[in-house]
Amino acid sequence: MCGIIGCVGRDGETLETLVHGLSKLEYRGYDSAGVALTGDGETVEISKKAGELDDLRAALEEYAPAGEVGIGHTRWSTHGPPTDENAHPHQDCTGRVAVVHNGIIENYQALRDELATSGHTFRSDTDTEVLPHLVEEGLDSGLDPDAAVRQALTRVDGSYAVAVVVAGVDAVFAARNDSPLVLGEDDDAVYLASDVPAFRDFTDRVVYLADGEFARLDGEGWTVTNIDGETVEKTVDTVDWDPEEAGKSGYDHFMLKEIHEQPRALRQCLRGRVEELGGNIEVGDLGDLSPTGVQFVACGTSYHAALYGAQLFQQAGIPAQAFLASEYASSPPPIGDALVIGVTQSGETADTLSALREADKRGARTLAVTNTVGSTAARECDHVFYIRAGPEIGVAATKTFASQLAALNLLVLAMAGGNARDIVPALRDLPGDVQALLDDSNAEAIAEVYEDSSAYFFIGRGYHYPVALEGALKMKEISYKHAEGFAAGELKHGPLALVTEETPVFAVVTGDGESARKTIGNVKEVEARNAPVVAVTDGASEVERYADHVLRVPETHPRAASVLANVQLQLVSYHVAKRLGRSIDKPRNLAKSVTVE
């Protein structure tokens, strides 16, 4: 997981453009950063630093590389610890070639041994460094830079998005295989990056590269070719969101901003798709898929959404299961004629992509539920359904989870039918209900009470089970505290041994049905061990009698209640993390979209 950027044609502003781009890509990695510009001399001019982007900025005060063409990189370590040496760009022995890379080169050890034997000196522990040396070999054998880069890439196995500059050549060479890469064109400049926000301040015209494609960016613009050197016709897309939407708008953290954006994100997700008075759901041709079975593949927060989605389909009479994508890819179940649905915010999650590819290989129909138009998942799957949550910058997913749940409700209504009469009004009310909750939430006060707890447990049943898991994941991600989510009924089968006076238990209980009564039984078990209980409830049941604190959600349909309960838990995690002084938007060891397996 790393972010790469490149640009050509920003006369005199190359360095500023690169650093600005890196600042927008920090969510992809932030343990080291660097830039390389072509300069005037025999060698490429490079500056790189371990640490956050500010450390690079400080280094650039001392020494600022110059040139008309440049590349940059923000790193999240996979091979070798974050040090100055391991930071990208990497160079060959002569300093003529500089390479930035996102992905993993699987056969790097063999290549490295081979190159070292033929006299190349390696300075870092990274897999990437074999690339500049391979390019150097090509240049030495008389190839032009274009051909040298191509030849180098034919030698490596694995996933990559790479960008290469060569001293004395005013061009950037780039290619992708299993890692995201997108081009941007302006009137007189061209850009490339792992993600659009990196250059969205300069242009909204973008070209998405496909796997196996090779691009050259120079003063003339861009050309895309395939592996055989034949020109590929690419369409230029226009991205319609505002770069400033990535700003914090006066909030302390992106996460809090994105929590408050949920009413708007939900309205966008539902827009034009739900008709209450007529009871119609409009999702294009997805309604005609009529699957006989569904398999979800997803990771992290999206996996929790998938668990919820699987329950929706089951309730509608369609057999459905949710799988962790990484497990699915290595030991796939029999698929039959099931529809395989990949849930991924970024559309670039490597584990989810490989699970979807595995399903595709077996002839399954695939559907991507994603937030990112033009992402790899969106392009590779047979069908795509966008959740339209808008860009999410905080590493901890918040609004995209809410939008995923809403989107899955629409999908199940469209594909499996069922009783729309109750759920459709509840979905239309959902943005207002979330707003009501945000206006009145007491989560901050509860966070104050429990900030010093040794562990946090979350329990829920049915649709609230994924919410319990998600509540625990948020708490882990941003507060660095131990937290676990359990199916409420599972508590007594083991985890209850962990419950003490020091460990608050958050119980999600809404409505007053069978499920609520059973969960209340589990709450009493907890209460008997003197653990503090925080009930997340709509007040319909008697759970408040057993709770030390209450987080209130508006009364609504049980499926919509899960979205609401989750918002309260997001707020609790946020405020606990804030009180503990954590790096909320960039938690340690984590990156926004994980593009390595």
Partner: protein
């Protein structure tokens, strides 16, 4: 133009507009189907402002979430006024965010771009350090009243007792950067720092240009004023939705049944749904995601975001907050009525009812003209409601 930065004062609650301001500040109340603040920002952007500084305080997340980091491509910065201690104090919070000449406006009063331009022009050409918009109003004693000497401000008085004044302070100011010091030095009156006190002092010491402005200038003091404001906005067609025919604007993402009747002026916002047989208008604004059920009748009414009106309901002269649900056959007949706000009684107001955010009316309920209902109130079936209902109450027959 020399002035490129505008400071917008958007931190106040607007207590006289309760219960509508329970969850949001006054600038976020609807004028037709968009917040008042959007109209203010439109005027500033149209007048060529390159940078907007919003002073936020009360329920500030509502402003920040709505406006975001930029408005129509103009960058927006936020500064926080933690305690609302007057307009001068609010302006002072923006001190570190502004180095040059600036425009100051109120975020809760609708103005036109031409008025902003007039003030900037006067400031640029006359070589003064301060310029203030003034306009003629018959009811000048309700506002900050002003007298001019030549073209300069001679006197400025907040809500004077006498009715001899004809001109009022239009609430649009242009200042040089020295204004912050002048505000800082102004003595506080009863703990509050009013911007008009500073202007009165400045007018004594140096010239403060009074700039006459015309055009749209509306302010909501009491909840029923929102009906007037919305009517004014609709009459001038200040809405973003595409016009379908004279006085009828419907968003592309709204669905209006073929058998519904829209009587202009009326605006239907995004994601709205209007059922068969509904009659909507004149002077009705539907905010985002509003549902109006079959055969409902809505006249001279503002329905805010996420509101739902079920089949067969009738509403006249009514203002509804966000996410209000009115069950089947709810009836709110219009004014004239007598309305009580705090200790004051207002007679002969044309008002049906004002319902705060998230009021739930179960159905077959009716409201006496002039009823004010607080947020989160639940009204049972078949109930008749009148007077003022406190927040969170449950009204049963």
């Amino acid at each position: 133009m020399s002035v490129q930065t505008a400071v917008v004062l958007a931190a106040g609650e607007g207590t006289r507009l309760r219960p509508l301001t329970r969850n949001r500040p006054k600038p976020m109340l609807p004028a037709a189907n968009r917040p008042i603040l959007e109209h203010v920002l439109d005027a500033l952007v149209d007048a060529g402002m390159q940078r907007l500084v919003l002073v936020v305080g009360y329920r500030r997340e509502r402003v920040q979430e709505h406006v975001g980091p930029s408005y129509r491509g103009v960058p927006v910065e936020y500064v926080v006024q933690h305690k609302q201690l007057g307009s001068g104090h609010a302006l002072l919070q923006a001190r570190d965010a502004v180095d040059d000449a600036l425009i100051v406006v109120n975020g809760d009063r609708i103005i036109e771009a031409s008025a902003v331009e007039s003030v900037v022009d006067a400031f640029d050409t006359d070589g003064v350090q301060s310029a203030v918009a003034v306009l003629e109003r018959p009811d000048a004693s309700r506002y900050g009243a002003v007298t001019l000497h030549d073209r300069d401000i001679a006197d400025i008085v907040e809500k004077p007792d006498s009715d001899e004044y004809r001109l009022i302070n239009g609430g649009i100011y242009a200042f040089g950067p020295a204004i912050f010091e002048a505000v800082d030095e102004t003595p506080r009156a009863a703990g509050e720092l009013g911007l008009t006190d500073t202007i009165a002092t400045l007018a004594d010491e140096a010239r403060v240009r009074g700039v006459r402005i015309g055009g749209l200038w509306v302010d909501a003091t009491y909840p029923w004023d929102l009906l007037e404001v919305s009517a004014e906005i609709l009459a001038r067609g200040r809405v973003n939705q595409p016009q379908r025919r004279e006085g009828v604007w419907i968003d592309n993402d709204a669905s209006v049944h073929d058998d519904a009747t829209l009587r202009g002026p009326v605006v239907v916002g995004p994601d709205c749904e209007v059922g068969p047989g509904a009659v909507i208008g004149p002077e009705v604004a539907l905010g985002r995601n509003v549902t109006v059920g079959p055969n409902a009748t809505v006249e001279r009414t503002v329905l805010d975001v996420d509101t739902r009106i079920e089949a067969g309901s009738t509403l006249q002269d009514t203002v509804l907050g966000q996410d209000v649900h009115l069950g089947v056959a709810t009836t709110i007949p219009g004014g004239p009525s007598e309305v009580r706000v705090n200790q004051q009684v207002f007679e002969n107001q044309r008002l049906g009812a004002v319902l705060g955010d998230r009021v739930r009316v179960r159905g077959d309920a009716s409201f006496a003209p002039g009823t004010l209902v607080g947020p989160n109130v639940t009204v049972g079936t078949g109930t008749h409601v009148s007077g003022t209902i406190a927040e969170g109450a449950e009204v049963v027959r």
